[in-house]
Every structure is written in C-alpha cells, then in structure tokens.
Symmetry: C2
Subunit: 373 residues, 2 copies
DNA sequence: AACGGGTGGTAAATGCGTTTACCAAGTTGA
DNA sequence: TCAACTTGGTAAACGCATTTACCACCCGTT
C-alpha cells in the first residue's frame, strides 16, 4: 500500500551525491561539470530505482509542465472533427507532452471554467478548437499563456490553423473539369445565408470563393444552384430529387459536403441514374461515409489530423502571428465519370490539380480501395 | 508579462491572517474553528484577488490532483467509440476533475509510457479503454492506483464497464418477433472464428449467446446464417446480394452491426426490395450511419456515453470488484416491417421488450426523427 | 608566499499549499 | 485561587525538484 514514489533524494542517496548534483546531472546539458564517475553513478541509481521525476513538483519550480490544454466546443469527441484531437494527441506525444482535453459546448461559463482548470494545472499552452471553423471568443487569459486557435480564428490571438478552403474549392472544380465536365454542373447546398453566417462563415465563404473563382477562370458556369440551410443527407436527397425531376441535362453535382452527397446518391439511385457512370458527384469533407458509398465518393477532404498536429507544433514553437492554412487532400474514389479530356479547359484544370497536389505532397489518398468495388 | 499568479500567501496577507488559517478556512469542513470574521475576510480576499489554488502544489502534499488519466488503444478519437470519451469527460467535469487523454495504438511500449506519463502527473486514477471490448493487458502499476477497465476486461482489475450484450442480443430478436416476424429470419455476419477471437470475443460471444437463447426461447430459428470475418459495408452487400439471389423466402435480416446493414441496404435497393416494406433489417451499434439511411435503421445501440460516465463514476468511487453491464438502448427507426402481431410468440417478445426497456429506463431513443422521412 | 583560476561539488532557498504541533488569552469549575 | 479547558490562531515542516550562491581543494604563477 502506498509504496512511496522514488524521489530524486533517493537517487542522490544511492548514488552517493547531493540532490543538487543528481538534478544537475539529470537535466544539465551534457557538459562535464561533474566527474564521469558521478554521472555514471547517478544514471545507474536512476535505472536501478526506476526513478521518474514528479512533473508537478518540477512545474512548481520551472513553470513547465509538459502538459497542454485542449479546449474545444464539442469537436474533440465528435465524428465531425475527431481528427483534430487525434492529430494533436499524436504531435503532443512526439514532443513528450500530454494533453488535458476539455469540452465546453460553447457555453461561456464552461469555457471560463475550462480555462481556469487548465491554468490551475500549469499547462504550457492552450489549443482552442471548434467544430465549425469560426470566430471564437476566448476568456481572459494571462498575457504569457501561449494560445493556438484550431479550426477557429480570434482577433486577439495571432496563431491559428485553418483548412485551405480556397484552394480546396478550386480543386473540386478542377477535378470535374479535368475529367472533361464542362457542362451540366450543378452546385448543391451553397446558401448565401450560410455563407454570411458567422458560425460557418470562416470556412464556407472561402470554399465558395475558391469554387467560383476557379469556375470563372476556366470559363465554366453552373447550370443551377440548389441551396439549403442545412446540409444533411435528407437535404441532399430532396434537392437532388427535385433537380433531377425538373431537368435532364445534369451531368455533375458539386455538393458542399459529403452528407449532402450521400442524400444525392439516394435520389440518383431511386431514379436509376448510376453515380460514376451516368452522373458525377464531387463533394467536401471526406467523411467516413464517403468511403462506404457505392461507388466510393470522390471528395476534397478536411485535413483534420494534419491540422491538429500543426496546432500543437505551433503551440510549442515560438512562432507568433501566423495563420497557417493546411492543404485539403483530393481524395479520388469512383464517383466521377471520365469524359473527353482533350478540351483546353480540361487540360488546364488537370495541370492545376497536378501542380497543387505536388505542392501539398498529397498523393491522392486511399484511392477508393474500400467502397469502390 | 509573467504576471505572477495569486497565491494563498497573497490571500492570507490581504485577509490579515496566516497562510495556515487561510488554508484551513478554505478547505476545512465548515466547522467554526475560526471566527466568523476571519472566514469573511478570507473569502473576501479570495474573491477580490481571484485566487485559485495551484493544483500541482496541492497534489504534492495531498496526492490528489483532481485529474484522471484516460488511456485508450485508439478508441478515444475514433468515430467507433468516441462516445466513451465524451461520457467520461462529462462525468469528470461533474466531479470537478479533468482528464488527461492518451492513445497507445495497443503498442505495449506506448502503453507503458502512457501509464508512466499519467502517474508522473499524480493522477487520481486511470481508465483503460479499448475500442473492441476485450481482455487487455495492463502495464505494472503501484497497488494504490485506482483503475477501471472501460469496454475491456482484465483479470487483475476487478472494476470494469461493459455493454450488456447478452440482453442487447435478446432485444434484437424481440424487436423482430414483436413485429410479427416468426419466419424467414437470416443472421448476417456472425462468424464462429470471430466469436472465438480474443479481440472481439468479450462482446460478440455474449451478443450471439443472447441472440440464440432468445430465438430458442421464443421457438424461432434462422433460415440461414451468412457469415463473414469482416463486418464492413462491402461484406454486408456481398452476403445479402448472394442471399437474395439464392432464395426468395427472406423476410428479415439480423445484422451483426450497422455497417453490415448498410451494405445490406444497398443490395436490397439494387434488387428493388424496399427495406421497411418488403424486408426488415435490425442490427447493432447505432452508428451515425444508422440515422442517415433511408429508411432509418432500427438498431440496438452501444451505450458508449453511458459507459464512459459509469467508468469515471466508478473510478472516483470506492467500489471494488464490479463488472458493470450497461444496458443497450433499443433505437427504433423505420427498417422493421410490422406484420401480424397477434401470435403468441409476438406477444411474448413484446412483453420482454417492454419489461427490459422499463428496467433500463431507456425510452426508444430518437425514434427516427432524422432519416426516416 | 600569495593570488588567480579551474574542478567538483554542496547547502539552502524557492515554488505553493497542506498539515502538524504548539501557543496565548480567556473561561470554567471546584 | 489554581488547574483544566476552549477559543482562535500561528510557526514550521513537508512534499519534490530546481536553482542560486558558495565552498574546499588543487594547480600553476609571479
């Protein structure tokens, strides 16, 4: 019962030196302030006793706890963006840190409490993450606390990590154009209200902007835009169903997210239109869903894990005032029909796509191994 | 810069008492060892200065850090069982604790490191969670460390939290029987190998046992069993496709999980068989997926959040040697056809279902509001 | 002989809150 | 009046690792 932990004093005693010496030897840079023999004896004692420093005690003195706080609205544990936390966890581990994870549900009271709780534990820094990339208010903090906004922005803190939505939007268009789609393209979901909505805006506005710019630059246009406030499967279904019942010149669907696309699949199926043969669908997010669909859904992924890693990397660095945009991977599965790719526009789009992929180093991810069968 | 934190000494000075007094007043039970006035002055000072105790310093003395370690193989951040961590987080917050979350990928080296890391931070206890409920080996730990196994079992530690799979299995059968299904029931996925597999066994074996017992007790039998090692959508698709092409007396599918069911939906759709009208499907897990399907999938849910909550509750209690089984909610959506319910077997099944739901207090969850349209 | 400069260390203070041991002054009770 | 409590409170130790300030000793100079 309660076998006392091995302390530095124990190590010192066994090694026949003072605690001071033991501490200096264990932490000091490897200069030879002490005899080689003292070094040996101390390390020997550490190994023998299985000594591990008490991080709390150390933090008391050094103000470094090797612990970081990860405070999110609701992102941490939701399928929506669990990758954020996974990436952060991974990078924290690499850096020898450990993560306190808290959720606040966007409730200001809980947010304040969460900040207090992690500060009370002397964290080395705090990552604030949100599910929907957005402007987030952060409770008052001591000047000296390092902060990174993850999938969120905040005027007060310069360091934030966001997906490169503008480029992602362009990629989606290029994907279609490069496959030869120059006509019959419909945009599904985009809604001006949503775009202006403070909550989703940071992300959606840029995505749409990239989308439209690329269309324009390639000389393309949408033949229709079906908009909806919510972006759930049922909306995708309804929008697509009515679209297909109304007109017969639809060749490609650009869906604002995978859940909309999922609904679109259902509508197509019902009408005997087979995705990947009679019609192309491209969307955003790379939800788990996307791989399960038949045929596999080609989508522009949210790089959650990479973002999480980047956030922790930034937090532990000294960098200040950065807005880091993380590239969105192009995940090609089997929902895009290949048409005639010889047109000028198609070639141009393919070039841009190639160039972009080379730049982000993102080989087409997991090209539909699952679900494309 | 580096605005020094307010310490207890500051509070004491402002209140005109010794740190001892301040500490005793702030922590002591509300007995009147000290004058009412001293109480008032101390609390006043705390409020004025915004004092918050340094948890690390306190832990040094008291060995209680109000922090718990949550170590999982890979569960924490995966859609598969993120509910576990969410529930744990919730309950920890309620209890004024905070959670260190670590992942190990089942790598023994990382597991040992993780245990070391949380112990170094003086956690009050450790929750070990796994994605697949199974026997898990835990690195050596000091006797005094409180441990709870979550969705896992370990011979050495008496306290574990698991889903009540046996009862869940029975519920699935009852659901079908109560809707009048007494013939044409097929089991999809179940595989003897899987059942014996140490990894999935703890959960699957009990589920299957419940399933079969209930069938037997109601005098029912499967007309076929399609087994598969993997339980992914593509397997569900292949299994169901071949089944439907082979025989025409299939009226109900009992799928071992939602992903299999998802594949089954696709196979049915392809053949013009509409789920919820021509055929019934019931499965397990209550994946996100289940709500997206059309019609909504009726499924026996894994009570991840409740399990997470229960784990933390047990961890912070003094209880020892418990295996807590958490009831699996019956999530009724629209994938089950209602047939003639007047048979004896149907009535018996309905009774059991009712009784069980009353017992777990689980009203049919979210009865298909989404996806059932 | 006295001084400057390494070499190889250590005692003690520090960070912060809790806890033990003790104390002074006032009350009671006999 | 004196011993025995009570009341209201404090000094100091403690938990553990880091860090500052200092020391003893030896060597080589001048």
């Amino acid at each position: 019962m309660a076998v006392r932990r091995v302390t530095l004093a124990d190590v010192a005693k066994l090694a026949g030196v003072s605690p001071t010496t033991a501490s200096l030897i264990l932490n000091g840079k490897p200069d030879t302030r002490f005899s080689a023999d003292a070094h040996r004896r101390v390390h020997q004692a550490v190994a023998e006793l299985g000594y591990r420093p008490n991080i709390g005690a150390r933090a008391l003195r050094t103000d470094r706890s090797l612990t970081i706080g990860f405070i999110s609205d609701v992102v941490a544990t939701t399928r929506f963006a669990s990758g954020l936390i996974r990436g952060a966890l991974e990078e924290a581990e690499n850096a020898g840190h450990v993560m306190l994870v808290l959720e606040t549900g966007s409730d200001p009271t809980r947010e304040a409490e969460a900040v207090g709780a992690v500060l009370d534990r002397q964290v080395d820094g705090i990552v604030f993450a949100t599910m929907r990339a957005r402007e987030m208010v952060v409770p008052a903090l001591p000047e000296s606390t390092r902060v990174v906004m993850l999938n969120a922005t905040n005027a007060g803190f310069g360091v934030s990590v966001l997906p490169d939505e503008e480029t992602g939007g362009r990629s989606a268009v290029d994907l279609l154009a490069a496959a030869g789609h120059v006509e019959g393209i419909v945009l599904i979901g985009q809604n001006d209200e949503v775009e202006r909505d403070l909550f989703r805006s940071a992300t959606v506005a840029r995505r749409v902007h990239g989308l439209r710019s690329e269309m324009a630059e390639l000389g393309l246009g949408f033949i229709a835009e079906e908009s909806s406030w919510d972006w759930e499967p049922e909306n995708g279904y309804a929008l697509t169903a009515s679209l297909l019942d109304r007109r017969d010149d639809v060749r490609a669907l650009l869906c604002m997210n995978d859940r909309l696309a999922f609904g679109a699949y259902q509508a197509c199926q019902e009408r005997g239109i087979v995705v990947g043969r009679d019609i192309s669908i491209v969307s955003f997010d790379n939800d788990e869903l996307a791989a399960y669909l038949r045929p596999g859904l080609t989508t522009i992924g949210l790089p959650h894990e990479a973002m999480g890693r980047e956030a922790v990397r930034l937090l532990l660095s000294q960098e200040t005032a950065v807005e880091r945009l993380v590239g969105m991977p192009v995940v090609e599965r089997a929902s895009v029909v290949t048409l005639d790719r010889t047109s000028d526009r198609a070639r141009r789009a393919q070039e841009r796509l190639d160039e972009r992929q080379a730049r982000t180093g993102s080989a087409p991810v997991d090209a539909g191994a699952r679900g494309s069968a």
